[in-house]
Every structure is written in structure tokens, then in C-alpha cells.
Symmetry: D2
Subunit: 423 residues, 4 copies
């Protein structure tokens, strides 16, 4: 998707596009129909993959019809049934039987989200490799540490990259956990599976409740999703996903903020990768703006509020299906995933091509050495007080790097372990 209001949006791919949602809804209906026929509830003739019934071009019509039922599933069903009837009346009759629209929409959104999460995990994998390389390569590239905007003590760029990596690893761990837990949703009209149980009963099957549970497992397995007790109004799967996504944009926002500061011309220690035409201005021919970092920062400022909206929706998930809170989730989740995907791709490109000016780093650190070593002198004074010559401050910024190597190594080890598990 490209979006005039959202530069870079095509990086988000089609994971959360309207056609993707449309096709995912059809896949959910197909998985359920397969479960109904597979179990013997629906006649064998009801089997139909639903393939090719709906085209991407149908999205606007379904969307336009969605208001009447306040969700797109109710609008999709007549279209599906009408077209299906032409080739398989039995399938048309059995379509969606025992489901409620929330089953289909929740599961379809999860299907779309899962693919997006996989893409994000791949992006994170690449960033971990890149950042581990930067942390290792620059473990001796001394630069000024800065706290509350002012020079503090020396650090290395390797250490900074390692702390970026720490955030990215936290994000990756979070997404890994979420990825395996994204559940299907099958609960029927009010989360009791009453419809499926009645269908099993009417079909004369033994232990109809177990049959209904089996239907759920069958359909979930078809979609490659774990089953879960109906969660129509227990929205942790959605808020967990949202929180994990925001954790990603937090990590990227933080590193983008560092790039923005350190690529100011007066500092000049980092620069974005050059690309033809990138960073240009409509008025000033000399300009090379750090557009990747700018757009990542945009996402990082936007995402926390989206995550909060998902929690608000969860807190207002009343009755057996809520009166607006559920409806708030869909566009919110879409935007949050888009922000994450775009920022992931931009952060990956930014990091892969990041230009590190170690000379400028060193020069600034050296010219600020008096300040950067003030703490060192103060500590040396402690021992000096114990007797002449017993204490000495660091003699240069490179001599006051503390456990720089150890900390970098610890984070690199964590990265290596993550990458190994990821294979």
C-alpha cells in the first residue's frame, strides 16, 4: 500500500490491506466449512475451498455494505453465498453455520497479523545481525557519552550499538512469544459454541460438545493457529500483540533519536545511508535530511497511543460482545502493524548502511576530555587522600571506558543465543 499521508507506507506490504483481510475472512470460512464436512456434520457435498469466489476488487462493495451490520463479515456472507450457490448449493447452505461474525473477523485479523509478525521477526533477525556487527566492530571507537544532553563520561560507539541491540533483542523476544500464541477465535454467537453443538446433535453425532471442540481444533489447525477457549471479551491476545509491537517501535524510536542527534551537522558522528535523491528538500538544493530516522521517529511517537487504544477496547469489552470497543480494534491494529512494518524496514535499512564517523567521534571526545574525565578525577581523589601517589585518574578518554568490553560481550552473547534459536 502506498499512502500520500504516510511516506514509506509501501514498506508495509499488503499484510493488513483490505484485500488481505477479505481473503483472510474467506480462508476462515473455508476452514470452518472443511471442519463441518470433515466431521460429518455437513454433507460431503458441502465441501468447497471457496477459492476464487471473491476477488480483491470486491473489497469496496463489501466495505460499503459493512455498516448495516457494523462489521464486514455480515456484508461478505451474502456475496459469498450468492456466488457459491451457482456452483455448489449445499456449500452455500452450510457456509458459516455455527459461527458468529466475530469468530471470522477476529481469526482473519489474527491470520493477517501473524504473517506481519513473521515479517517483523525476519526484519529483527537481520537487525540483530547488523547491530551485533556494529557493536563488535566499534567496541574501541571512543565517543562522548551524553546524559541530559550534556557530555558525561566516554563510551564507545560499540557500546551504544550494543544498547540499541539490547532493545531490539527485547523486541524480538517479545514478538517470538506472541507469535506462537496468536489464537484462532471460534465461539459462536455468544461464546458457548451452541450452534456447533446443536449441529453435531442434529447430525446424530455422539458427545456433541466434544464434537464442537473438535470442529474448533480442526479449523484452527487448517489455519495453522492454536485453538483457545472463546476470547470474544477477553482480549489479551490482541493487547499482547499490540504491546509487543509497541516495544518494537520503542526500540527503533530510541535508536532513530540517537541518529537524529548524532547526525546534526554540529555533531556529525553518524549519517544515514545515502540513496539517490533521498533526503532532498523542495527549496534547498544542499539538503540531505535524515528521512529514515525522521519517519521512524514518527512511528515511535504514534505507536504508544495505538497500543493504549487496544487496552481501552479490552477494558470496555462488556457483555458477550461489546458495543463499540471491539470495532475500535480493527483500524487501530491495522495502523499499529503498519507503523511497525514500515519502521522495521526503515530501521533495517538505516542500520545496514549507517555511516559512522569515528574520526569525528574521537575528535569530540578528545576536545571534551577534561569534562569526560571529571568523574575519574573525583574518584582518584578518593584514593589520593589515602596517601601520595596512591590514586590516579584516567589519562585519556580511552582509559576510562569501564566494563565496555564486558557489557558488549554480554549483549553479543545474548544476540548469538537468540540467532541460534531463531534458525
Amino acid at each position: 500500500m502506498s499512502d500520500l499521508f504516510w511516506p514509506g507506507d509501501e514498506r508495509a506490504g499488503e499484510f493488513m490491506s483490505e484485500p488481505a483481510l477479505l481473503q483472510a475472512m474467506v480462508r476462515v470460512e473455508a476452514a470452518w466449512l472443511a471442519a463441518l464436512t470433515g466431521s460429518g456434520i455437513a454433507p460431503v457435498g458441502a465441501a468447497d475451498s471457496l477459492a476464487d469466489l471473491v476477488r480483491d476488487e470486491d473489497a469496496p462493495a463489501v466495505a460499503a455494505a459493512a455498516e448495516a451490520g457494523a462489521n464486514p463479515v455480515i456484508a461478505l456472507l451474502p456475496l459469498l453465498r450468492d456466488r457459491l450457490r451457482e456452483r455448489n448449493v449445499t456449500a452455500a447452505t452450510w457456509l458459516h453455520r455455527g459461527l458468529t461474525s466475530q469468530d471470522v473477523l477476529d481469526t482473519a485479523l489474527i491470520v493477517c497479523a501473524r504473517d506481519a509478525v513473521d515479517q517483523l521477526r525476519a526484519e529483527l533477525h537481520g537487525q540483530i545481525v547488523t547491530l551485533a556487527g556494529l557493536a563488535d566492530k566499534h567496541r574501541a571507537s571512543v565517543m562522548a557519552g551524553r546524559t541530559l544532553t550534556q557530555h558525561a563520561v566516554p563510551i564507545t560507539f560499540g557500546l551504544k550499538a550494543a544498547t540499541w541491540l539490547q532493545g531490539v533483542l527485547d523486541s524480538a523476544d517479545g514478538l517470538d512469544s506472541v507469535a506462537v500464541e496468536l489464537p484462532s477465535q471460534f465461539g459462536g454467537a455468544a461464546g458457548t459454541l451452541a450452534g456447533p453443538v446443536q449441529l453435531a446433535t442434529l447430525a446424530g453425532l455422539d458427545d456433541p460438545a466434544r464434537q464442537a471442540a473438535e470442529l474448533v481444533r480442526h479449523a484452527a489447525a487448517t489455519l495453522g493457529l492454536p485453538a483457545r477457549a472463546p476470547w470474544h471479551t477477553s482480549r489479551s491476545p490482541i493487547t499482547d500483540l499490540g504491546d509487543a509491537l509497541v516495544r518494537c517501535t520503542d526500540a527503533w524510536g530510541r535508536l532513530a533519536g540517537d541518529v537524529l542527534t548524532l547526525s546534526r551537522p554540529e555533531i556529525g558522528e553518524l549519517a544515514e545511508p545515502a540513496a539517490d535523491g533521498r533526503g532532498s528538500s523542495s527549496a534547498m538544493p544542499h539538503k540531505v535530511n535524515p528521512v529514515l530516522a525522521v519517519l521512524i521517529r514518527r512511528a515511535a511517537l504514534a505507536a504508544p497511543a495505538a497500543g493504549a487504544q487496544l487496552h481501552l477496547a479490552a477494558a470496555c469489552a462488556h457483555d458477550e460482545r461489546p458495543d463499540g470497543a471491539w470495532h475500535l480494534e480493527w483500524p487501530t491494529l491495522r495502523e499499529l502493524i503498519r507503523h511497525a512494518l514500515v519502521a522495521a524496514s526503515q530501521a533495517g535499512e538505516l542500520l545496514a548502511g549507517l555511516r559512522v564517523n569515528t574520526g569525528r567521534m574521537r575528535a569530540t571526545a578528545e576536545s571534551a576530555a577534561q569534562d569526560l574525565l571529571a568523574e575519574s578525577r573525583a574518584l582518584a581523589g578518593l584514593f589520593a587522600a589515602a596517601g601520595p601517589g596512591s590514586g590516579a585518574s584516567a589519562t585519556g578518554t580511552a582509559g576510562y571506558l569501564g566494563a565496555n568490553e564486558l557489557i558488549i560481550d554480554a549483549i553479543l552473547e545474548r544476540a548469538a543465543s537468540h540467532l541460534k534459536e531463531d534458525r
Copy 2:
């Protein structure tokens, strides 16, 4: 626009669509070009309306190219210049001279927003008429007042409608104020108008700074917008607009919430207007869901966070153009305006066709009269204590309505005065 993730979105019209933004950007460039030629800075041959240069179908290509400059204006200009060059080389040369991309994008968004605000004001006008009618018609329709979910003292439905009206009038007043103040943005690369001033200087005009100011007024007047000192980093125009929009959704959210409660089957005092197929369920044939109120509530839950994002962007509007905060405004403002437009239309329809079950209201009030008159008895006790027979509680819920009429009249008067000014 229809949107599968957003039932009812087509009610938002095209005010904030990508084509609308695209055309608005072209209009801004055209207004500036006209100002340049009108002032004698650009040669007469540079005059060109830019009409027909860009088609709606160009939006995706411009959007795709927008990332390189982190905004769509930088992507639009080469396309405009290339096409313009074929019919008017001079115009192509003078296009955008003296502007910066923020000038064009801010003004274009304001152009789009202004049209949306006008639409909203028209919707509010209609709602005020409707609500005034409901308040007047039902000034004697007694119902239970409810506080913290429990029966309190009697009210009338007319009074409830009047308090809804109060919120809608507050919203309308807010939008009226904002509407006349939405400014154009013309400041040049860093808000100094240096480009326009240099152009005037090079053109040999007297008092070039005044000429630049004159250019701004000319272009603003062409677009029907007031001029204002450059506000690249003073974002009150955007946050004021945002706040006014959220005030609208607050008002609608509150009345939708009342409708949702009062249309529960156990209460049954209100019902949404019926429409063919509206409110149906995918599973339960008997269902008539209050979908308008549900979707309005969705907007009311969504809008406050969007308003806050605009403030966050304003608070982070650093330097002479910020590094991400500005970029956050565009999609946020779009979504907020869409929410407002959709909810406005839905609220209008909901109110216009609202079904008021006065019988049910009366019956509930009567059956709860013992509770609804508890305060009355307590107050009567005060006077009773002063002597036998000196105090008496209300003898029925209709006898304990307080200043119901006066309050309704006061709000109706305010409505009448608003409608008179609005003509």
C-alpha cells in the same frame, strides 16, 4: 472512501482522501504561482492554473515517491514540473519558487480540513434542529433519571435531549470558531520568507519584505484562507482544530452511550431508526443491533487519543521544522476528521429517526416511583418537622420535575440563537 476495517467510512466522503490532498496541493501551488505572476515577480508567461496536470490516478505514484523526501510535496514537484514543461516552460521554472514543502502540505491539509469542517457544521446544524424538536416535544415525557447506573429522581426525555443538545451546541460553537481561523501557511524554507523576499529583490521591486507579505496575502486570498505569521513550529491551528473535532465526538459519544443503554431490551425506552437489513447478525436472525450508536461510540473512544497525538506533535515541534512530529500530524488529522465526519452523519441519522417509547419510560418511572421520590420525601420531612402538614412530598414522578421546563427553555433559546447566527 469505503474501508473494510471501518464500517461506515463512506460517510466521510472524499474530504481527506488521497486524491483530495493531491488536488489541494496543486491548488496551493497554483495560488502561489498566481501570486508570483500577479506581483510582477514572475513573468506574465508563468501564469498557469495547473488545471488538469494531475489526475487522481497519480496519487499512488506520488505516495510511493514521498519517502525519499519524507513528504509528498517533494514527490509531487518533479511530476508537476515535467508535465508543465510540455505546455509552459516558464511556469515550470517558476513553480514552487520561494516555498518550502511544509507551506504546501500544511496549507493543503487546511484546505481539505476546512471543507470537512464546513460539512461538519452543516451536520451539526441539522442535529441542533432535530434535538431542539425532541427537547420541545418531550418536555413532559417523564422517565427515570439514572446516576451511577441506578434510579435517581425523575427527568423528562425532553431534558435529556436538551442536555444532548447542550453538548452539540458546545461542539458547534467550537467548530465555528475554528472554521474562521484555519490559516494558510506560507513561510519559506525556515519561516523567514527569505525566498520570496529575494525574488522580489531580484525582480527589482520596492520594499521586498512587504512584497513578500503581499504575496502571502494574495495566495491566501486565492484559497479563501486567512494569512498568519508562519506557524511551521507553532501548531495551535492544528491542535485547535483537533480539540474542536474531539469535542464533537465527545458529544456524540455521550448521546450514543445513552441510546445504547436505553435500547437494551430490559429498558427499551429508545430504539435506533429501523432500516432495511440494518442491525442484523450473521448468526441470529432475530437481532436488530443498534449499529449506529455502536459505531459512534467507536469514534468517541478513538478520537481523544488522536487529539492527544496532535498535541504531542505540537510539543515536539522543534527547530524550524521538526524531525518526525510534523509527519505524525497528517495521518492523525486524517483519521480524526474521518471519525468526526462518519460519526456526525451517523449521529444525524440516529437522532432524526430516533424512536422514543414514552410508554415504556412512563411505566418504568411509575414502577420506580418509590425510589425516584425518595429525595422529595426527605425534603418534605424538613418542613414537616416545622409543624404538622407544612411539608409534602411530590405525589407522583411528574410532580417532581423541578425546573425541567426552564432548563429546556434556556437551552432551546441558545439553540435558536445559534441557528439564527448560522443562517
Copy 3:
């Protein structure tokens, strides 16, 4: 109030402290009691100023008792009545008659908020004077303009101060509007004034509804607040106040962000006012951190979400008194006002003592002149193309300041006009 979690909080004064709220609630009850006796509804003997009945030390006990009724008014009343009974049984009997707890709490919060708003207006007045001085003094202090973190075209520090002033003026205008509209709240149990009307009826007064309205006007006038139709569930007065406060923190956040960037050692164009011990570090003896700007930025990041919470509460103000949304407003409004008061004071001090290093500004601008004049050269090229020698770029950064003077003058004029009205 000082607060270990909130450095600088003592700058907020006591406007929103628990004792202030407690005393304000008593003042509201007293104003109502005076209205009841003044109107002849309550006997003359019921007159009592309620002075000295409640001490600040009572706050914890009232707070602890507040949960039972879900608000502090219900907890305050028995305490007031018990103490009053000892000196004036009649007053104890008539206390609070005709009111509901929301009347007292809403009005008390408004009383506290109004005082805070007046304090903020005074702070803003001072900042306008300071900023006008800075803008005028530095209208020729050339510095690099920066967009998307990179050098753009030259500006002056006077212009930057003028754009800060623009934001502060917008904030002041907003608060001025809000200040005169903060209303009292008197509506009785469900907003009908049924209690007051019944009291007037029982007292044998003519036109009891008018008498009730008169009571409201009387009590409001005693408190110096405008009356308004009951707004128990039409919360614009609260959201308007919140929005105006956030507009303030936006303006301060933006200028604090500029100070933070420009006081980085590599840029060094601005510095916070020095104060003994301020900006020190627990580890690094050389440190002088820009703590005022840091803490202002904290407020600016915090305030938008608080404003949004007030809107969310407004959107959920259902029934005749809502079930949680109202209760969310009190601490939110307190925190927002505290943030605004602290940031106001810090911004005032920051601006009053801001150290402007014009030499550093000039030096940076000169060394970056090639870039800062790139636009100028491009525009000159336009005319040069028309013939030899016909175009010329600016010969120095001071020569490319555009309408710097005009824009500063326009904003100073607005400031002067504001200050004149403010007297």
C-alpha cells in the same frame, strides 16, 4: 506541594492540594446555604459561613471515608453536619439541601482551577514581556535555521523567540477565553433542580422554578462564577480547560526542546540561567544539566495524554451521572494543572535568565554559510538565466533573512495588544 516523584512540584503551589479542595467544597456548601437563607427558603437562623469548621488536617479522614460514596462530598457532609450541629442546629439541618455531590465537587474543582488559571495567566503575562524583549533584542542575531535537524537557511534568534512568543500568545488567548467561562455547577440530584424547586414550593414562594434558578445565580455569584444550565454530563467546561492547559505545555515543550538542542555542548548557542547547585550530577562534578528544560519537556510529554483522558471521560458521561468517567476527571485535572503550573514557573525562569551566545550563533552560521545560502543561489540562478548579471545571491547569511523584521514586528504587535488588554 513537594513530591519526591515530581521534582519542582512545589512550584505548583497549593491550588490543587487536598486542603484546597476541601476548603473549596466547604465554600460551595456555604455559598449554597447563603442562597437558601437569602431567598427565604431556609430560616434566617440557618445562616452560617461554615468558617473554621473544617481544618486542613481533616483531609485524610474525609479522603478515607470517600470510597463509600465514591466521592469526597458524601464523606465531608457528616463531618460538617456534626460540627455545625454544635453551634447551629438549623444550619446543620439545611446544609446541602437541594444539592447533589456532583454540584459541590464540580464547583469546588472549578473554584480551585480558576485560581490556578489566574496564576497561569500571570505567568504567561510575564513570559510575553520577556519573550517580546528577546525577540526585539535579537532581531539581528543571525543563527542557522535548522529543519529536520539539518542546516536550512539563516534565521535570527529574535525570530526564533518570536515564534516561541507566538505559541505563548496562543496559549494565553486560550486561557483568557476559558477563564471567563469556568462555570459553577448546580443541578441537583439529576440535573433538574427538583430539590431546590420543591424547597421553594414548600416554603410557599411564588414561581418556584424561577426561585431555584435564582438560588443558582445567587450561589454562583457568591463564588464569582458564571451560572450555566446543569452540565453534569456535558463536560465541555472541563475539556475546554484541559485543552487550554495542554496548549500551554505544548508551547513550553516546544521552546524547551529548542533550548535542549541548542545548549548541547557541540552547539552551545543557548544556556539555561545558572543557579547555585542547579544542574549538578551525583557522579560527575563538571556537569551543568539543563534541568529546567528537561523538566518542562517532561510536562509537555505528559500533558497531551491527560487532556485526552478528560475527553474520554466526557465521551463516556452517560446517564444523568456516569459510572466512573466522572471519577476519572478529578485526579487527571489535578495532575494536568500541576504540570501546567510547574512548567509555567520553570519556563518563566528559563526565559528570564536565558543565556544567548550570539557569538557562537554567528560563528556557526558563518561556517555553514555555503549551505545556508544554497537556496539563495538557486533562486538567483533563476534570474541569472534571464541575462548576465541580472541575478545575485545573498552575499552573507545576514543578507538572506527575508521578512525577519516584518514577522517579528507582527508578532510583537500582537504581544503588545495582548498586554494592553491584559492590564
Copy 4:
């Protein structure tokens, strides 16, 4: 803590009070001092527990002094050193050596938060027991299922309690994960441990970097916290905690919302536990408001925004210590934890004493049976079409409960497993 603006706040205990934070900061300094002396870096004479040096009454003075350094640690140190000097000059000299204020404040907040989290886990344990009891006891208590406010299909109150339990279990799982990961923070001035390493060097210890790491482990172990690579600017520990807390309030908000709806007089299926004086009104003697649910809902509306603020702070954690974002975390985390603690206690009490009117549930379900069985009839029609008598709809609401038992059992099994691990 009691709080006039926050009814019920005393339920939060003292976990996040100013004295608690003060004492926690002292504990962190003491743990570090013990590590310094234990390692042989500081002389044996520097050992001091710091006990009794600071009293709760010192909090205001420390708070008032905190602005100068923008955090309370910088204000605490002179006070600690002055008092310590009187009894142990050596300890005063070695206090805080090698640390930065963020180390102390972050770790102190974690110490306070951990205790609060343990309290929350205990509350959740109790709720799980209660809810499991309700789910089991009411597995046959038929009631109307409601979706989008309207009657849907039958459910049981046991199933509703089970879905509440599902949310509470998700919350408990989340808190369990967070509880074991809340880390100490020891990184020194810019996260390099340069100070500790220099101290070890000056003390003549072998492998000073390892010694520094050992110091960190020692101090962390003293506090009972896991060590972690410095996370000054990688704020996942804070955002993970925040997200886990919001997940709790989501779960309670959802069940409180159900209680609020179902305790409306027109529905009357649930009621809060009665308590003397609870739920009373200042005006209406008959009132029994559901104040626990009202106040829980307040927390649920408030918490998501607080969680988002923590993410915003994480996304803006720039440089080696950020310029405002860090400072935003402290009061935000305090409020979020208070909300969670208060709501936890209220939810526990609400659930433990919840009054379930199964008669009213059954009566409503029976009177609405025609609607509640509409889906059943539609499904029966499917089979009926296959031949006369082959399909039959449910004959009563109790006959259309689907997999009610199975779903309840599955969730009860999860609860049992959770409780077993929890022992």
C-alpha cells in the same frame, strides 16, 4: 495513602508512597556500599547499613531539593552524607561512589514496584479462587447472553464468570513473568561501569572489569533482584511492567462493566456486596450505588494512557540518559501501580461478595426465550429441510447452552494449574 481526589486510594497501601521511595533509595545505596566494602574496594570501616539515617519526615525536604538536579537522588545524597559523617566519616566518603543517580532511582523504583507486584499477585490469587468458585457454582445458572447490548443466545453465569477468570488468569500470568524479571540497575554515569572499574583498579584488584560486574551482582543479590546489563536507555523492564499492570486493569474493567450493566435496576441480575453506608448518595436516601465497580471502571479507563506514557518515554530514551522522558516515568509508574492496587483490592471485594440473582437471570432468559433461541431454530431448519422431523430446535434456553460445561472446565483446569504452581 488516602487521597481526596482518589476515593479508595488507601487500598494502595504505602508501596509507592514518598517514604517508601525514600527508604528504597537508601536501601539501594546501602546495598552498593556493602558491595564496595565486601569486595575490598572500600575499607572495612566504610561498612554501614545506613539504617535510621533517614526518616519518613525527610521526604518533603528531599523532594523540595530535587529540582536542582532534576531527580531526588541528587537531593538525598548531601543529607545522607551529612548525617553519616557524624557517625562514620569513611562510610560518608564512600557512599554512592561509582553510581549515578539513575542507578539508585531506577533500582529503588523497582524495589517498590516489586513489592507492589507481589501484593497484586496475592490479590489475583484470591480472585482466581473466588472466580473458579463462581464459575463452578453457576455452571447451570442460565441467563441471557448479550451482544452489542441486545439479547443473543443463552449463556450461564458460570460461563461469564469463567470468561472473567480467563482475563484474570491472563493478568496473573503476565505479572508472574514480570515479577521474576524486574532487574536492578547499576551502570554508572553513562552505563559503562567506568566508576566501579576505576575504583577496582585503584584498589589494586585483579581484572577490574570483572570486579565491577561482581559488585553489581553483589548489590543486586542484596536487594533480591536479578542483575542485567545497564538499561538506562533500554526501558523494556519498565514498559513490560506497565503493560502487565494495564492487562490487570483491563480484566477488572471488563468485569466491572458487566457488573455495572447487570446491576441496573431494570436488569437486576447482579449486585455489589452490601456494606454499611456504601453506595449512599448525598441527596437521595434510597440509593445504593455500585461504587466498587464504578471506581474499578475509573482505573480501567485511566490505566491504558499511563501504559502508553511509559512506552512514549521508552521511545524517547535518547543519548545515554534522556532529557525528560526518564523523568516522566516516575509519577506515571506510581499512578499506574496505585490504580492497579486499588482496583485489585476493590475487584477482590466485589467478587468475593457478589450477589447473584439467579432467579432474575432465569426469568429474563425465559421471557426472552423466543429471541434467545432464534439461532437454534434457524439451524434446525437446515436439517428439517433434509426431511420431515429430522431437525429440532432447542426446547428451552437451558437446552441451548452448547459447550458451556466444557469451556468452563477448560478454564477451571487452567485456574487449578495456575494455583498449584503458585503455591
